[in-house]
Symmetry: C2
Subunit: 342 residues, 2 copies
């Protein structure tokens, strides 16, 4: 059906191998030969057969994105960013949603890497933070890049991209303080997630920096879900001394908190200010819209992918020991009506 490398070679009057060199940008082809080959490729509308490349070559142009995250907006943005970078570099993407709490999650991932001969994996939280998964991948020699919460990568760690949740949470909290709030509640996501930990640290640090007391009873543990928001606000608003503002660990919790406040007839932001985190689309669609921290998920994903591809290339060229510096993203404060008592 479609043109093969052989037909291109004949068309251009060169050997198959030379065409292969052109396709792979090996750089050792004379300019006019290159032009001839390019012309033939264009004319025949030739596309390399991925299966054949994968089979013949050492390296395989397929990346995998493994995730367990109920947040549809996050996943879609991740996919978008990854795909952008994949397309630019001739890679394909296999997606693999999974259940991180499943007993044989490791076998599942390893099996997938094996059967699809993946070149590398992109890992986002919570999978990127599970030591047993990482060490299984290390043992097998599977390349991967991690996206995770933090501000500094460990020495000699596998490549990663960081999101500075601490700083962003600090800023959000500081914004609430500047609005005059002194009693600020905190609603946490899953407490084993780094993002939760970092955000809570940022929150506490901002309070401390402004000499405000920490109220343990103002900190509610939960999950990254709407339901947690609803329930937590219930708890906070029935306290003898109530907070006047709440920082929710993500927008979904914040939306739940907003819902809960409304059910109890509490006005937002007049009586209670609510801030979220993530800048997901619905932070703009609640009433009132949510103050939040904007996390450029697609850019983070794209950066992670380019980092992975870079590390793959480094390995191919043999300089495997080279460490790729981790890029750090800092989510930006976005102020909207939910905290704006003007």
């Amino acid at each position: 059906m479609s043109a093969t490398i052989k037909s291109v070679a004949e068309h251009a009057g060169v050997s198959i191998k030379t065409v292969s060199r052109v396709i792979n940008n090996e750089g050792t082809v004379k300019p006019d030969t290159l032009a001839k080959v390019q012309a033939a490729i264009d004319e025949l509308n030739y596309k390399p057969n991925k299966a054949a490349r994968d089979l013949a070559g050492r390296d395989n142009y397929v990346l995998g994105y493994v995730y367990d995250n109920p947040n549809a907006y996050y996943i879609i943005d991740m996919q978008k960013g990854i795909l952008n970078e994949c397309r630019a570099n001739g890679y394909e993407l296999l997606i693999h949603p999974c259940d991180a709490s499943s007993r044989d999650i490791i076998q599942e991932i390893l099996g997938m890497v094996d059967s699809a001969r993946l070149a590398g994996l992109i890992l986002s939280p919570p999978l990127s933070e599970m030591p047993e998964v990482l060490s299984a991948l290390d043992d097998k020699g599977v390349r991967y890049v991690r996206i995770l919460s933090g501000s500094e990568a460990l020495e000699n760690s596998p490549p990663c991209v960081l999101v500075n949740d601490f700083q962003a949470a600090y800023q959000i909290t500081e914004h609430l303080i500047q609005q005059g709030h002194r009693d600020i509640g905190f609603i946490a996501g899953e407490k084993q997630h780094n993002s939760t930990i970092e955000r809570q640290k940022g929150f506490a640090a901002a309070l401390a920096a402004h000499d405000l007391p920490q109220h343990p009873e103002f900190v509610i543990e939960g999950t990254y879900s709407f339901g947690t928001g609803v329930e937590s606000i219930e708890k906070l608003l029935t306290l003898p001394k109530k907070p006047s503002a709440v920082f929710a660990c993500n927008d979904e919790i914040a939306a739940g908190a907003l819902f809960g406040a409304r059910m109890r007839g509490v006005d937002v932001p007049e009586t209670l200010a609510i801030a979220g985190f993530e800048n997901s689309p619905f932070s703009r669609q609640t009433f009132p819209p949510l103050t939040t921290a904007s996390q450029p998920t697609d850019q983070i994903a794209q950066r992670a992918t380019s980092t992975l591809i870079q590390s793959l290339k480094a390995r191919k060229l043999g300089n495997d020991k080279q460490t790729i510096p981790a890029h750090v993203f800092v989510p930006e404060l976005v102020v909207r009506e939910s905290t704006n008592r003007s």
Copy 2:
């Protein structure tokens, strides 16, 4: 690294080809040979190399999902359903978000099919409703399954799975009428989408069936977006005669309408009832939660995928002319507080 078919063959004391027969369930293997081979496969933890299969075989175990849809929840559910079926049948999935309005969308899709040697494509709206895309695929002989709005498939059409938007919209409208509403607004999505057309027809049919007048000024055209909801409600609420209920073409529009109503201080559902469509997660997360029609997106996707795989098998066996009957899904009415003036 990983075991090859050859090692399995040696381990089991049979030929490579026999192992291949086992892997592919060809059924012409004696039970005890089969058991021996299976044991060897399990013991060596052998996984067939996809690239090699794709290269050697006629058929390729990779499906593609091409979509252009801003609705993250919809896409994630689609992916989930497709992947379920893919895994059950040993297929891989390549996802390809794209811009349906792009000039060379057809070349883009064809190129993707070519270079990844896709076995078949899954198409959801709006791509599944674009004649130029479909005929390009037909010309190229690319197999695909469509998901689209309707209640009956055309004769001899390529395989598809239908969603009966008409009937669901009829039910929602009837529900509003039963709540005592006589002046009901309608906010449409993109008017070229079949789903919009069918939902509007269902709406009109229900009004007619209950001898209610059609108010053209109550019908607002827009897009499937939050913004449309906000703007449309503005238009409807400034009419000399206002509707007492609104049927929005999807949940996102409905959420926007709710937002708009709230901005104008209009109580929902007391003064204005609002219904959406889709049962996306945030229809449960607005205040008050939205009445809607539940569309089992992941099941629809799974069904579409199994239909595609079935049609692929049929072609392989030569009985290509066999038409696979289209399955019809009817979204179910879900009543929540946004229309419930009790």
